[in-house]
Structure formats: C-alpha cells, structure tokens
Amino acid sequence: MYCVTLAHHEDFAGWREAARALALAGVRAEGISWQVGDAPQDLFGDEAIPDAQPGAALTVPKPFIGLAQSVICHSDTERFARLYSMLLKLQQNRRALEDKADPLLRRLEELRKAVGRDLHKMRAFVRFREMPEEGVPDGKRYVAWFEPDHHIVRTNAPFFQRRFAAMHWSILTPELCAHWDGRALSFTPGATRADAPDGDPVEETWKTYFASIFNPARVKVKAMTAEMPKKYWKNMPETALVPGLIAGARARELEMVEKSKGKSLKPVEVRGLKRAEEEERRLSPGGNRLAAWEALLEEAKRCTRCPLYKPATQMVFGEGPVDAPLMLIGEQPGDQEDQAGRPFVGPAGQVLDDALDKAGIDRSQTYVTNAVKHFKFEQRGKRRIHSKPGAQEIEACRWWADQERDLIAPKVTVALGATAARSMIGKVVTISKTRGAAIELPGGGEGWVTVHPSYLLRIPDKGKADEELARFIEDLRTVQNRLTALAA
C-alpha cells in the first residue's frame, strides 16, 4: 500500500507528481491511499513512492489536465483515486476522454460541473463590505464572508484580482482566506463570520434596488431558488426581503388591477386571479410542510368519503399560511364558496372579515377552513338551499380537518358553530356551555368555541343581532389576546 500526502485540498501539482511516478511504476488504483495535510496516516501506507525513472515519460491528452485541475477542487474524498483511475485508463486508450458514456468519466464530469457551479456562484454571490483601514486607497478595505461547498478559494482568487485590481480586498471563508493588496494575492488560514464586518452603508440602497426591480405581476419563486439556492442566502443582504416581497406581490398586483379598473372584473381575469390564488397558496412559506399540505390538498380534491362530493361543484379546502398561529374552522362551504372554491367568501365571510378586522386579527395570517369540505344543499327551483351536514358527514370529513390541524399545528384553533366544535373536539357539545374558555386539544394547541357568523345573519331582531355580533367580536378579541400571550 502506498500513501501519498498532499500539501492541501486542491494540491494539483502534488497529485500530478505522485500520480506520474505511481503510474509509471504500474501501481494500481486500489494500492494507493491519498491523504491531505496533517490527516492521520493510513495504517498500512508504509511503502515509499517509487522514484520515476529519469527520462520515463507519461503523457495525457491536454483536456485531461483541465479536468483534473477542476476535479481536484471538489470536496469528494475519492477524487484523487478517481482521477488516478482515469489516468490509468488513458494509458490504455488515449481517446478515452471522448467516450462520454463511460461511467467513470461521467462521474468526473459531474464533479467538474459541481466545482464549476461553485466557482460561478462564488463570483456571483460574494458580497463585499467596507472596513476602514489606513494606507489603502480611499481608506477602505473591502471584506467578504463566503462559504463555498468545495475547495475553490485559491482557484477563484485570480478572478477577483482581475476584476477589483484597484481595490484592496479580502475574502474570508471557513477553510482559507484570500487577500489582495494591489500587488499580490496572499492566502491565510480559515476565519469565522465574526471576523468579517457585519454591515455596509450601501446595503440599504442595494436592497432598495432589489425590491424595486422586482415585478410583482410575475412571481416565479422556483426559478429564483433554482439559481439562487437558499444555502447562499444567509450571506446576501438582499435576500432578507424575499419573503416580504412574495407575500406582498399579489396584493400589489391586485391593487394595480383594481386601481386601473375601478369596475368589476372580466371572467378571464377572475379565472386568472383564481389561478393566482392557488399559486399563492403554494408560495406561502413553510418548506416541507407546504409540500405536505399541497399533497393533502391534491388528495382531498379526489375525496369520496361521503356522498356530498357528487352534487357539489368542487371541494373547498382550507387556505392561509401553513405556519399560521391561528386556525378558524367553519361549518361547510356555502353556495358562493362552492363556486369560488375558497372558504368564507360569501355573506358569512363578510361578517367574519369585519369581525376579524375589529378584533385586530389579520386574516391573511390565519388559516381558514371548514369542518365539512363539500357544500350540502337542497335544490329548490333555481336556488340551492344550505342544508346542515349530518353526523356521518362530519365524521367522514374529520379525516381532512384533523390532518390540516396536525400539519399546521396552530397555537389556537377556533371552532365557529356547533358543527365545527364537534369536528374539533370529536363529540357533540353545546356552544353556550363551551364558549369563553380554552379547551385542551389532543395533539397540542388549545381550542376555543364560538358561534358561526351565519348565525348572526339569521337573527331577526336587530337589537339582539347587534348584541350577538359584539359578543362574537369579543370572543375573537379574547383569542387574539390569548395568541399574543402565547407568543410572548
């Protein structure tokens, strides 16, 4: 067993020298252990590397040098051995590099590609911050903190040298730091984030630019994260704005459309907005939770757990941020909800929106859903009259409501009306007895019960109705206070 120790992670010269001698001596790839720096020696690596005979030549096609120089920078621990195998292969077949379907070459090409991407992303995402320093141009040194995936700092430093020749700069990374003083590049051991400055006077201006150049009418979050993966975000000042920009985008667009119209929307626009809403649901933050929620939504669309799916136009699922601290459960979609595909958009939704507003609750930060997801009605002529869901239907649909609550895990869940309360708690309760006190829910979080907004619409006596409405708002206020207390 031969053991080769290289000076540093991307020591191409060292690798080349050792590989040449070993290949000329006919050593097979399995017989070599490659080490970097002070890493502990391989237990069995005790044979001396044979000296290359003077005059003995080992040649490779030129493209191999470029490939090897690049692959050496990868963090893959097998890279030295892989390159050595390729070197041997090239001694058998000088044109082996043209056989792109060869698995070893394919792997090396992948490594090269990953290094190339890392180099490119470093050139793109390094952000310099100024730091006062005497004796340099303008009295400023430009310092950046960056965390590359591979061993690329040494390779990439000349790019920054060529680009910022007149500046004095340093790029700090965990493994190696590069510095330029106007005359020569130098390298020092790794640093920590705390060694780099934590702000810059131009950053606010840059953020202004980032926010202003964004066109809210065309949100394409996937396209953004494909090219600017989240792992880079922490060192880029502008990315702090992204969640806010996405959240505000549709509101800004709607505002534009509304402002310039002032009239009702055309059917095509309504469809467009509906799509936008669906899209927006996908966009709200939450990571895996969002993917899980989307999967749940897709499944629920095909639900046939009770017969209600047949006459209804569509399944109406919950909506709102998947990390909402507050969840509202209603009874079931009404006529308008059934057509719109969204919960609480009809007359009861109006009442709810007003009440939430008065209680200081932001509906856009709340997850709103129904105990039963399909509209149950009786056809009377042209009208579809709301019909109360039965015990079996509520039970069947608890399957979805429970999963929604598990996923979103709200701190507080509010059941609006008896049907919702039954779904939330799992047994029949009366509103008057449960109202106004927290109920501990199985699976965490606390539940509250109040009336359904449509109940308020059905009270014939104006005085009584106002009284009940005030009580409803008071209930919501209590919930809001509870949320504030829980968040503190």
Binding site: E98, R127, A166, M224, V257, G272
Partner: protein, 413 residues
C-alpha cells in the same frame, strides 16, 4: 415637492426600468482591470449576482435616467399621461451608484435607459455622458448597455457605441399596426432606420479593426431589441417571423420578449390580466430552436396550432409530435441535425452522443447517463437495445410525453 434623495430616486427609476427584459452581460470582449486605475472585468460569460422573486436575474444595475417622457405610449408606465411619480438622476449620481454597487460585487455593470425629455438628442447626450464618465474618468471596465433613442443624432449614437458594450433599440410591438395604435408617436420606419445605422456602424468598425489594430472597438456585444407580447393581437407565428426577420436584417444578438404585465395606472386600451408568462417562455424556446437547433422560422411556425404555440408542451416536442414521420431517430447513426430534433436532447447531449458513439454501440443505459430525462425521448429514438415499435405512432403519445405537472399552465393567460 421635497427633493428626493438618491435612494428615493432609485426606487422610482428602477421600478420604471423593470419592464425591460434584457439583463445580459455576456458576449462582449474579454478585459479586466489589471494595470488600470479603476475596477471592472468582463470575461465572456455574464454573471447573475442575484435573483428577484420574479425569477429574473439581476446582473446589471438597470435604471432609467429619468422617467419623465414626452411620448404617450399606452403600454408604458412612463408615458406622459401616466400618473406615476417622476424623478431624475444626474449623470454623476448614476456613475456613483454604479461604482458603489460594482465595488461590493452586486452587479456586472450598468443598463441605462431613459424617458425622452426635451428632445431625443438632449436625452441621448445625457446617456452618453454617463457612459463617458464611467469609462474615461473612472476607468470603469465593467459592462455597459445603453438604450439608444431612435431619433438621436448619428454622432451621438456613434459615441454610445464607443463607450458601451451593447446598444439596443426596442421595436416595442411585433406588428406595425400595434405600434400605430399603442405607441402613436413611435414609427417603425424610424426605429428600423436607427437599427440599420447601428448595424452599419458596427460592421464599419469591425472592418476597420481588421485593417488597423488601433481602431476603436464599437459595441462589442452587438445590438439587441425587445418586443412586448400580449399587448396587441399578434399571434406567435407573426412574432416568430418578425423576430427572425430582425435577426437577419440587423444581425441582432438577441430579441427579447416581455410578457405584457399590468402596470400601475395603465391605459384603458390594454388588457388587464396576468402576464402571459408561459407564452413568453415558449417564444424564448422557439428563439432557441432557431438560433441553436437549426430550425427555420417556418418550421417553428409549423409546430403551432393556428399560429399559437401550445402552452402545455415545448415547441420542439410540438414539432416532433406533428412530424412523426421523421422519427424514430437512430442515435447510433443519425446526423447531428436530426439528433438535435429529438425532444429531450440538447446541444450538449448531442455532442456527447456523437463523441461516445465512435467507441461503442449506444444502448439505452448509455443514453440515460448522457441526458436528463430518458422517458421523454424514448419514443423518438432507436438505440442498440431499444426500438419504440408502435410507440411513435400512438395517438395518445402527447399525453405520454408531456410534462405531468399542471403547474406550468398556471402562468398561462
């Protein structure tokens, strides 16, 4: 009105510039700041320094010098009848912004455009002044893209070309009728005239450089243009033919498409729906087919249905589904041109196939390693161990090969 500070102006003038699609910073000469007193380099490939949530890259500081304008083009947020807040940078402010951003590695350079104030010449002078100051006073060697004003003096346009890497003039709308209706003060003849002048200036200076090494470089990244999709009635066929005509006649580097998006305070003449992003995307794909895959414009148009490219599948797949008699293609024998027509094979994969098949009979497993998705191209190829048999002729092939996710259609209008 209180005076605006630079940041407030930036917010207004970057906002006003976002409807220009181009952000390319590639394809210019190779240069760097070694030995100079300034900063900046361009090394062939452009760099995207950030991405906005609209999925577009941020490579250049893209701003207007001013958003005041004497024109009244309906699709434009800056038209004189629009109610937007106006602002104006001084050339020095733009210069300092560019340098400050560049030093911190935020950008590759500057993309400067402007509303037209006073006169075309006056506006053009101001644009040129910014570029001149950057180049001559600060020895800035990064990328500069200047939008030129159609009616400006020839000498001014020539100067723009000397300082800038790329110059562009927007044709704005794919049809002359659209331009007449929506941009009444603009004139196709004048726009095309300016593009012709630019082309001959680029050609002249290229000629001169062949003879004298000392001749100055002129717009080394060439000229480009942009048209708005979805504001007038032009169908995809018309847009593709128009773009290919522009490429031929003016040797453009790029034709950009910008899906018309609702703008604040829009004119009542325009549709107010979500921008047809998927349509824009398909047009770019068809652009690629013409530039890198050897399709003629009429072939791309043939892939469309009644002049509109399908939104659910890409134009290459659409073409393949329409002309099934050309398939399957034998990956071990077919010429490069035919391999390029296989849906799912890109230029790189084709190159790899051509290299690899000299060494081995390519089997399906080999192809799998060389491409992204075997499933898509399987019905269209023959390999050593694979023959699609009846697959190519199946009536439901479209559903078999089209992307499963419906999400793409979300963007369609």
């Amino acid at each position: 009105m209180a005076r605006l500070d630079t940041r407030q102006k930036l917010a207004i003038l970057a906002d006003a510039a976002k409807y220009d699609a181009s952000c390319a910073s590639s394809g210019t000469q190779k240069r760097d700041s070694s030995g100079g007193k300034g900063i900046g380099s361009t090394e062939g490939m452009g760099i995207c320094h950030a991405y906005a949530p609209d999925g577009r890259c941020i490579s250049l500081l893209k701003i207007l010098l001013t958003n005041s304008c004497i024109f009244d083009c309906h699709y434009c947020i800056n038209r004189k009848s629009s109610n937007v807040r106006r602002a104006r940078f001084t050339p020095e402010e733009v210069v300092q912004l560019t340098l400050n951003f560049y030093r911190r590695n935020y950008i590759e350079g500057l993309f400067l455009s402007s509303g037209i104030i006073r006169s075309s010449n006056y506006t053009m002078e101001q644009l040129v002044e910014v570029a001149r100051t950057l180049r001559e006073v600060h020895d800035f060697r990064g990328y500069i893209h200047l939008k030129t004003i159609p009616d400006a003096d020839e000498e001014l346009v020539r100067q723009a070309g000397l300082y800038a890497d790329r110059v562009s003039i927007n044709v704005e709308l794919p049809t002359e009728r659209g331009l007449k209706e929506l941009a009444p003060e603009k004139d196709e003849k004048r726009i095309e005239g300016a593009m012709t002048d630019m082309k001959s200036a680029i050609d002249d200076l290229k000629d001169a450089r062949r003879k004298f090494k000392s001749a100055p470089k002129f717009a080394p990244a060439g000229q480009s243009t942009q048209m708005i999709v979805g504001a007038d009635g032009a169908d995809d066929g018309a847009i593709i033919m128009r773009a290919s005509g522009l490429y031929d006649r003016f040797k453009l580097r790029r034709v950009y498409y910008s899906a018309f998006s609702p703008i604040p305070d829009a004119s009542a003449v325009l549709p107010l729906s979500r921008p047809p992003l998927m349509r824009e995307h398909r047009l770019y794909q068809s652009d690629w087919l013409m530039r890198f895959y050897g399709y003629t414009p009429s072939e791309v148009v043939a892939a469309s249905d009644d002049g509109m490219l399908p939104l659910d599948i890409d134009p290459k797949l659409a073409w393949a589904l329409k002309f099934r008699d050309r398939f399957p293609v034998d990956v071990n024998r077919a010429p490069r041109e035919m391999l390029l027509r296989v849906p799912g094979l890109g230029t790189k994969a084709v190159k790899s196939i051509l290299g690899a098949r000299r060494f081995r009979q390519l089997r399906l497993d080999d192809i799998r390693r060389l491409t992204v998705s075997l499933k898509k191209l399987q019905p269209f190829i023959v390999a050593a161990d694979w023959r699609p048999v009846a697959l190519t002729d199946r009536a439901d092939l479209r559903t078999l090969v089209k992307p499963r996710r419906e999400q793409l259609e979300l963007f369609a209008a």
